[in-house]
């Protein structure tokens, strides 16, 4: 299982703040594509992805047990 955390507008779009995906291994780009098609989450071209609380790049690999956060453009401060 891979845990996916959602925030802000994405959380409201998905109707949940957390998804559990039954995946063993996937890279960041593929995960974004899957979220886009399976959960109807748009605007994923603008998001960053963090794996286990570290920003990750499109080719980075996510493995089961990882926690992935989908990070839309931040607006703190």
């Amino acid at each position: 299982m891979i845990t996916v955390l959602l925030f802000a507008q994405l959380q409201e779009d998905a109707g949940t703040d957390q998804l559990e995906l039954n995946i063993d291994e996937i890279n960041v780009r593929e995960l974004k594509e899957r979220l886009q098609s399976d959960y109807n989450l748009s605007k994923l071209d603008q998001v960053m992805v963090a794996v286990n609380e570290e920003y990750a790049l499109d080719d980075d690999v996510i493995k089961k047990g990882d926690t992935v956060a989908i990070i839309p453009p931040v607006s703190g401060g």
């Binding site: 609380e53 990750a56 453009p73 931040v74 703190g76």
Partner: protein, 154 residues
């Protein structure tokens, strides 16, 4: 560091407490930035705000910003607390305190901190306007990730 210099809090922030964390006999200058909730933005009236954070990672990123500052401006101390939850007009959303032997570094490092917060710290602001609500981030404020990426992983 026994104190927590970088915090996400759902309680009101006390400026004096953040300042105390960076006080030092070697510091001649302390700057603080206090971000507060403004009522009017480009003619639109805000009723209140809601801040959401990915808390553990937000603390990690604030800590990263502190380390970046101490590399760029040696002998500085940095403390940052960001609030989450509902905030009313004039409430404090963030306090950044930087101490330094000399004032120039204290100003520069402080401004660097708020710019970096707006780039890499996973916190989101939902504006509750007089007629509607929006999660901010892309449309209204800055270009997201002006450097293409948050510039963390080298």
């Amino acid at each position: 560091m026994t104190q927590e210099f970088f915090q996400i809090s759902d309680e009101p922030i006390q400026v004096d407490e953040i300042v105390k964390k960076v006080e030092s006999r070697d510091a001649g200058a302390i700057t603080t930035f206090i971000g507060t909730v403004r009522e009017w933005t480009k003619g639109k009236r805000t009723l209140y705000l809601e801040y959401q954070a990915y808390k553990p990672m937000a603390i990690k990123m604030l800590t990263t910003i502190g380390k970046e500052i101490q590399t760029k401006w040696p002998n500085t101390e940095v403390a940052i607390t960001h609030r989450v939850g509902r905030l009313d007009i004039s409430d404090i959303a963030v306090v950044i305190a930087v101490s330094s032997p000399h004032r120039k570094a204290a100003y520069e490092a402080n401004e660097y901190a708020i710019e970096r917060i707006k780039q890499i710290v996973p916190i989101w602001k939902k504006e509750h306007w007089e007629n509607g609500e929006t999660w901010l981030g892309d449309q209204l404020e800055n270009v997201p990730y002006p450097e293409g990426k948050p510039h963390i992983k080298e």
